[in-house]
């Protein structure tokens, strides 16, 4: 896995948008995100990449959630691009309207809708599916921190099994978020046969940027799902956001892949597959799985998911682009 980030200026080809002297800085500093926020980092990288790829011809609609709240409290505004917020569950439909209006006016402004996992996989699912199904000219970016962080870490349909959240608090008889639950929205997006679906991680910024830059100039519906650790909700030091994100990718819990028109067309292989336990042990939301009385079967359940991902997306053995 390549690790080109802001500091990597050796290879011009591999340079991140963040390393450019004129990086767009679409989400400027001074906003109210927590220290170490994975979502803020991902949003800046993704929207900078989209801005870079379109020469600034973008407009954004944001679902309600952390990103909306921390970036834009009147009279302050951290966005250097046209940005709007309407409601929690309607960002994809608002984006459809924006895209239609731009088309009706003959303007080539590329439309982005973005939200957290709650706004995307739960309350926005109906409007998201509608936008996909109509193949509207919208790039939807989901910043997945795997729970409702803005309201204080409650379970969403993107919360991993056995994780502790404020509404799945483990105790002597309950081991955390139920095994067998959850929703895989990238796969649901693929099932809509939209032109482009990708997953990305803030542990691999260059890959994230490339996927967003590719998506933003494709006509039709696009979906990019970005894994963004949350120090507050997941329980790890604020300095370890990238480390946690990387651990998720390296154990197979968060596979990086691309799909076009309903078919997976490529994935990013893991050079050295790590056991899922290494990823889990970094986070307090899984600490109960390693307590004295914990059922060892629990970690095994999570390992099964990671192993299934590795097999399904052909992530091991260095086989690139299946």
């Amino acid at each position: 896995m390549s690790n080109s980030t802001i500091g990597s200026r050796l290879s011009k080809k591999k340079n991140s948008v963040q390393s450019h002297y004129d990086r767009p800085n679409t989400l400027s500093s001074g906003h109210r995100a927590c220290q170490g926020c994975g979502e803020a980092l991902a949003a800046r990288c993704a929207i900078d990449a989209a801005y870079h790829a379109t020469k600034g011809n973008i407009a954004i609609v944001n679902a309600t959630g952390c990103l909306e709240v921390f970036s834009c409290v009147f009279p302050e505004n951290a966005w250097n691009v046209p940005w709007m917020h309407s409601l929690f569950g309607n960002a994809p439909a608002v984006a459809t309207g924006m895209a239609a209006a731009m088309r009706a006016q003959g303007k080539n402004v590329r439309i982005i809708a973005q939200g957290g996992d709650g706004g995307t996989t739960d309350i926005g699912m109906g409007t998201l599916s509608g936008m996909f199904e109509r193949n509207d000219d919208v790039l939807y970016i989901c910043y997945d921190n795997q729970a409702y962080m803005n309201t204080g870490v409650q379970r969403s349909s993107a919360t991993p099994i056995l994780a502790r959240t404020a509404t799945t608090l483990p105790n002597a008889v309950y081991a955390g978020n139920e095994v067998g639950t959850g929703k895989n929205v990238p796969e649901i997006a693929i099932a809509h046969r939209i032109p482009y679906v990708a997953t990305a991680s803030i542990a691999n910024i260059k890959d994230l940027e490339e996927k967003v830059a590719k998506a933003i100039n494709i006509r039709g519906a696009k979906y990019v799902h970005i894994h963004v650790p949350c120090p507050l909700g997941w329980g790890y030091p604020t300095s370890e956001t990238i480390k946690v994100a990387r651990a998720a990718v390296e154990c197979g819990m968060f596979p990086l892949f691309e799909a076009e028109h309903g078919k997976v067309v490529g994935s990013t292989p893991i050079e050295n597959v790590k056991p899922v336990e290494e990823y889990l042990r970094l986070q307090r939301r899984f600490a109960h799985l390693f307590s004295k009385n914990a059922n060892p079967q629990a970690v095994e359940e999570l390992q099964k998911i990671a192993s299934a991902n590795i097999e399904k997306y052909k992530l091991s053995g260095g086989i690139a682009n299946v």
Binding site: F74, W83, M84, L87, N90, G97, A101, V109, T127
Partner: protein, 400 residues
């Protein structure tokens, strides 16, 4: 030009004359024929430069309109009943963001029990949402009010809901005079958005507003609505000047000069009431009718003025608030506070129950009116059910 048209088709053609750039369609009875009609006009090339979008829900329908309006184009959608409730969050959002969307509400009851027929419960459920709400009496008014609605919305920077009685108007074939494209273009200039998402001039729209500013925002929304009373009236006058029809404005007065008893109402039922009182007045009755055209903003001053000579006011409405009573009744009573006018409440036509001339006559023939009456009730059913209620521990004294 005169046409014999179904109400929905007439509305569709009137909306098309206003050249919306996006139309969002989601079916719900009795509004569906309107968006069907617009779809046909777009697909046949009669309405050009318009994006027609089939959406997956009413929430999406109004949200698409919110998005397209924010991106700078004139936008339209239509709904009814449950659909309005399903998009409720977006209803408040559109007015809060000052987006001049025009939406037709094909008025229909709200379930449970599920009922597809006409009353005004749906409109009443959004009376506090910050939209301008206009009620049409005839299909001609429905046509004319839509053309005025875009002008009012864009002038006031506020969404406008045109309420058209489901089935009674939406599905009735009537003669309507449709203006020409040139006439409408002359009356309604191209949309000049007051806000829009523009990469050359990036702005944030719909941000969170903390307690330090929120009250002012809400207060200004109220002031804006009160100011809109002038705009609604002025646009109505301009429309009359240009098209010769008095179909806008705040209220519609009928025989108020000589009337001692005035029936206040909204929507299509005013026609039935006018016919009824014509008959009664020929036999020496002294009745008048006041129709509220602009329900929001509420024209309290115009109502007071119109009812100045009335001794008795009967508010006949197709909705009520369970647990308190007539809604329009309360508002009319408030408008008439500190006057000696007697105000009575009649709830009628719920869920499509016919309101006949005979029912109105029978009611008016009573000397003493109860404070609140449900018109045309099957009293046997009510009495039987109330007796069953009495078996409970409370001492229920039914007023039916």
């Amino acid at each position: 030009m005169l046409f014999q048209l179904e109400g929905s088709q007439a509305v569709a053609r009137a909306v098309a004359l206003c050249r919306p750039k996006t139309v969002c369609a989601y079916p719900i009875t009795p509004q569906t024929h309107i968006v069907e009609g617009l779809g046909e006009l777009v697909r046949s090339g009669k309405l050009t430069d318009c994006e027609y979008i089939n959406v997956e829900s009413e929430m999406a329908a109004l949200s698409v309109a919110i998005g397209s309006e924010t991106a700078g184009v004139r936008s339209y959608t239509a709904t009814s009943s449950q659909g309005l409730l399903y998009m409720m969050e977006a209803v408040y959002n559109a007015s809060g963001m000052e987006l001049p969307i025009v939406m037709t509400l094909g008025n229909r009851a709200i379930g449970a029990p599920i009922n597809i027929w006409n009353d005004h419960t749906d409109a009443m459920s959004v009376r506090d949402a910050g939209w301008i709400m206009l009620f049409a009496e005839t299909n001609q008014e429905a046509v004319d009010l839509h053309i005025q609605a875009f002008k009012i919305a864009e002038k006031v920077k506020c969404p406008v809901m045109v309420c058209v009685d489901g089935f009674i108007l939406t599905h009735a074939y009537e003669r309507v005079d449709l203006p020409t494209q040139e006439e409408v273009d002359d009356f309604l200039p191209p949309y000049d958005p007051h806000i829009s998402l523009d990469p050359k001039n990036p702005k944030a729209i719909g941000t969170m507003v903390p307690p330090g500013y929120f009250m002012e925002v809400r207060c200004l929304a109220h002031k804006k609505q009160i100011d809109a009373l002038n705009v609604v009236e002025c646009v109505g006058n301009k429309f009359k000047e240009k098209f010769g029809r008095d179909s806008g404005g705040l209220v519609r007065e009928y025989n108020l000069e000589k009337a001692e008893t005035v029936i206040v109402t909204m929507g299509s039922v005013a026609g039935t009431i006018k016919d009824t009182i014509d008959e009664l007045n020929q036999k020496g009755g002294k009745y008048g009718v006041l129709s509220i055209v602009s329900y929001r903003p509420f024209p309290a001053e115009a109502i007071r003025k119109a009812l100045k000579k009335a001794k008795k006011v009967i508010v006949l409405e197709k909705a009520f608030a369970v647990g308190i009573g007539g809604i329009l009744f309360q508002e009319i009573s408030l408008a008439l506070k500190n006057t000696k006018t007697e105000v009575k409440s009649v709830v009628a036509g719920l869920g499509g129950r016919a309101i006949t001339s005979d029912m109105i006559k029978e009611y008016l023939n009573h000397k003493n009116h109860d404070d609140m009456v449900f018109l045309g009730l099957n009293k046997e059913v009510i009495e039987r059910e109330c007796r069953l209620l009495d078996k409970g521990s409370c001492d229920c004294k039914s007023s039916f």
